[in-house]
Amino acid sequence: MTQTQAKATQVEHLLELENIGVSFKGVNAVTDISFAVVTGEICALIGPNGAGKSSLLNVINGVYQAQEGRIRFAGQEHRRMRPHDVAVRGIARTFQNIALFKGMSVLDNVLTGRTLKRRSNWIEQALRIGRAAGEDDRQREAAERVIEFLHLQPWRDTLVGKLPYGLQKRVELARALAAEPRLLLLDEPMAGMNADEKQQMSRFIVDINRELGTTVVLIEHDIGVVMGISDHVVVLDYGRKIGDGPPDEVRQSPEVIAAYLGTRH
């Protein structure tokens, strides 16, 4: 804890949460959470079910509004932010239970991820005039690069609804990636996957982080995976932060162990 704050003073923080509190109908989901994500790191949020991890993610990208606390992204503070504004600032995410556009092909799903990169208006696109045509090419190419990066070529034209679960997770990652985000929020990217799929997915996440320099905040239950790929772990329990630091440091923390072994004190 103290150590990470010491670090905070030196290195640039992409995302800073200060005393965030969220409650629904009086029930506190998240209480007084503060932590910082360093630019270019993979930060994992872990904790038992109902620890408030997803709520926190939803606060960061504006799906929920925090009643208390402040969020600072890339130096700019934002108090009340709608998902749209958050997307504009370069935060993309995936969802705990897949939120793909089932009626569309993989390629189209990925293309929707580029919507903010569009300049031509809908009339130009409808009549195929002006900037539209050239832009279509560029957008398609960008989307294709993401598809290639995540090895999705064989399913380019498949309806996502028809894909197996593991692939759907990957397509959702591709869609988020297509937006060329600075910060990528992954809500249980490996939930319900088998060992191989998990390994492949963590490979992709690491590549995204290292090759494209995207900062990643992810929620994951598989501690093995988390410890393997993340530079920084934040542990939540009952909406409170009980651990924050490098993986091996956190692993030692008695409080964390207690939370995971379920012994309360």
């Binding site: 997307a87 939120a99 556009f101 929707t112 919507t115």
Partner: protein
Amino acid sequence: MFYQEAGQFSTRYAQDRRVFRLRQDRYGLVALLLLAFVGVPYLGNDYWFSAILIPFLVLSLAGLGLNLLTGYAGQLSLGSAAFMAVGAFATYNVELRVPGSPLLLSMALGGGVAALVAVLFGLPSLRIKGFYLLVSTLAAQFFVTWALTRFSWFSNNSASGVISAPRLEILGVDLSSPVGRYLLTLGVVVTLFWLGKNLVRSELGRNWMAVRDRDTAAAVMGIALLKTKLLAFAISGFFLGVAGALWAFTYLGTVEPHGFDLNRSFQILFIIIIGGLGSILGNFLGAAFMVLFPVLLSNLVALLPAGLIDAGQMENLQKMAFGALIIVFLVKEPEGLARLWKTFREQARVWPLRY
């Protein structure tokens, strides 16, 4: 079976983007257009033009209008007929009050007015979802018909708000004959379908489907929900408006506001359910079904011994049949008739293999 795909590959994205990527499909389309524009005018007779083909085309267009809103953008609407009415009456008034404005322009303006009205009643769609939105569209339905009958200005003070067609001529060519009206309708419908197809394949179309499938995810990706929804209402309104004008002037000739009542809205909704939500082709199939089914039914009934089913019963029979069909389609084939064609095409592409 008839597909030969060898050598049909894209070296540029533009080629890959074509509506009909495969040569065989393009030939098919060309053949169809030739038939519609050249063949039918020679083969068809007045009954077919006025009683079958024109209503079929107009209903297809109306279906497209609603399909953009409901099938693609996922916003349920029961106000289609109202927007058609607005389109019809607006076109009529443009023709009436702007002497010498070309017919097509008047129709476009009429569609424009319908679009504005649609946007107005689409505004609540940001706050309310699903069938809560019905309230807004039903409000449109009732308010518009009321206003059009109540204020005789719209119908140039004619009795009970009846309006009749202006002279149907384009660049001096008189199109008031059945075949002329058919060609006029066909031209407009084909153009607008081309536009519609492009729209649903464009980014806007993708955003519509995104909003339909998962609006939260759409918002998170930076799709502006209100803009997207309102555009859906506006464009849908425009298409319906033009359809309304055609309905009034190339099909009926004279029409009163109550020609655009709630049942018309239902009819159009049924067209897209039967034809296929979220499909362009489906609108044609649904409309064809809607036009031909009654004819078919009455012919079937004619086979039965006379007097067994009288005219009144006929209507009830039709009602039941339609209702039942809606349920059957929703249960068995939610993607409608269009799905059948799609399956057939996929099969044909891999014939004789299974996949």
